[in-house]
Symmetry: none
DNA sequence: ACGCCATCGATCAATTTCGATCAATAGCGG
DNA sequence: CCGCTATTGATCGAAATTGATCGATGGCGT
């Protein structure tokens, strides 16, 4: 067996399963662990994989900010079920706007298989999540990088959104009340979100239960402009009723609606 | 058996299975390994296959082009020394444009400590690299995501660049010749690079020695528009002389030239 | 926290493969 | 018929790959 052949098989196994172990590859390739280890070391130097004790894993696409990804994991299950519900609103051939936020990011991760989809976003993380989904066309707005949310804001972002029209906008925020609608602490972010809402025929707000009833400094979209609110079952029913009263199509994602989130790494 | 016949059989075997080994072919063709080796060497020179220890493989295993991260590791040292040299051109308070490419990315990694710097880029990787550098203001152009280079291209990208003015543009490409200047294989990328060059008072091209003398499909910037070319010591001196003749300030970063140019960037 | 065990990295030896030089054979033209 | 050249085959030293062993390191269970 040629060396290149061996490495190609290792790369193949790695891509299909995400991880390979030294012993496993040694058995599969009819060679010793030493050789596999050397191959892995060489491939790691080329950036094809990342070495780990006992094997190797796929390289992280691009580095993630720990603080942000931590937050993303926090209420992962709830956000994922909200995203699942939002996914049903997206049809093949759609053009959608996707704002920044962990919930919209969860939605972005589900979009890979939708054909003919165009996604406009100002979130670098959304763009990154869609990097591997070659079927989806991704358009980023321009703008100034706002590090805390990994997104582009400012006049340039607003202008580039204003030049577009999309069928639906999926945006998030830090608070949602029946009276004031969606709100966020930063005026810059609010202005961008407002531009998103203005460029879409339908405005869909994704907000987990911790946001419902909260109000923060800047109103981004008034309740009257919101067509659909997707939240999870932890939200106060009275508030949801009031929001429905205002004409919003409120949808509640239950934690049990899509339960396939088994964690094996709970030991930390 | 004729030589051409032999090589045709080798090519056939290679296409059908992806790999051939020297010993195997020698047995199959009723000839010696020496002859097979000679054939492989000749065919490799023609680009029909890629030589490997003990045999040969197909040149482009479809779908596995050198991934971006692979390329980034490839000539890391040379690119880093080019970036070091480019760093000297950047002053506090500058506004610069940074194109996509592994060399410009290397430069981006060095910019963290420059105060009052504004960086405009269409590369997600550059933005990512500057994510941690809170002193630097990062502006992304809008545009359509081009996955192969992790950058934003298209009319939207060009428009947003045209709305700006910067003191210097640092761009890269796939080839640079004295006659045609900087070139790249993709028309979309070329158009964006051209917009970058048009928006800057000074155009600085970063190109390692493998690019010098290469010419690819789309010219991005003619030699006359390039003020400075930074390359490494592996480049052909005759070509560099011709480029200098055309009025370009050519600077060569040697492996040892880091010491000469480390004014403010000694800690990195 | 401690100790055990798997894993890792480095070095050495054995085998294979590579490249270069030299000899032999076949085809070709004069 | 003779000489020339191109191709093929052979041999040898050099280089690369592979496998094994040993000390060191890190992870994991108790």
């Amino acid at each position: 067996m040629l060396a290149v052949e061996r490495r190609r098989l290792i790369a193949e196994n790695l891509r299909s399963r995400g991880v390979v172990s030294v012993a496993e590859m040694a058995g599969l390739l009819n060679t010793t662990e030493i050789t596999v280890r050397r191959d892995l070391r060489a491939m790691a130097k080329e950036g094809q994989l990342v070495r780990a004790h006992g094997g190797a894993v796929l390289p992280a696409p691009i580095g993630h900010e720990p603080s942000y990804s931590e937050k993303a994991r926090q209420a992962g299950a709830e956000k994922a079920s909200i995203a699942q519900l939002a996914l049903a609103l997206i049809l093949p051939g759609d053009s959608i706007l996707l704002g920044p936020g962990t919930t919209t990011l969860a939605l972005a991760r589900l979009l890979g298989e939708i054909p003919e989809l165009t996604v406009v976003t100002n979130s670098l993380l959304v763009a990154q999540a869609l990097m591997a989904s070659t079927r989806v066309e991704v358009i980023l707005t321009g703008g100034t990088l706002r590090r805390s949310i990994h997104a582009l804001v400012g006049p340039a972002a607003e202008d580039s959104v204003r030049a577009l029209r999309a069928s639906k906008a999926f945006i998030s925020g830090n608070g949602f009340t029946p009276e004031r609608g969606l709100s966020t602490p930063s005026p810059l972010v609010a202005a961008t979100d407002r531009a998103f809402a203005g460029a879409a025929q339908q405005v869909v707000v994704l907000a987990d239960h911790t946001k419902i009833g909260q109000d923060t400094m800047c109103q981004t979209v008034p309740t009257a402009r919101v067509h659909t609110l997707i939240t999870d079952s932890g939200a106060d029913p009275a508030l949801l009723a009031a929001i429905r009263e205002a004409g919003v199509d409120v949808r509640v994602a239950g934690p049990g609606s899509n339960e396939r989130h088994e964690r094996l790494a709970s030991a930390s």
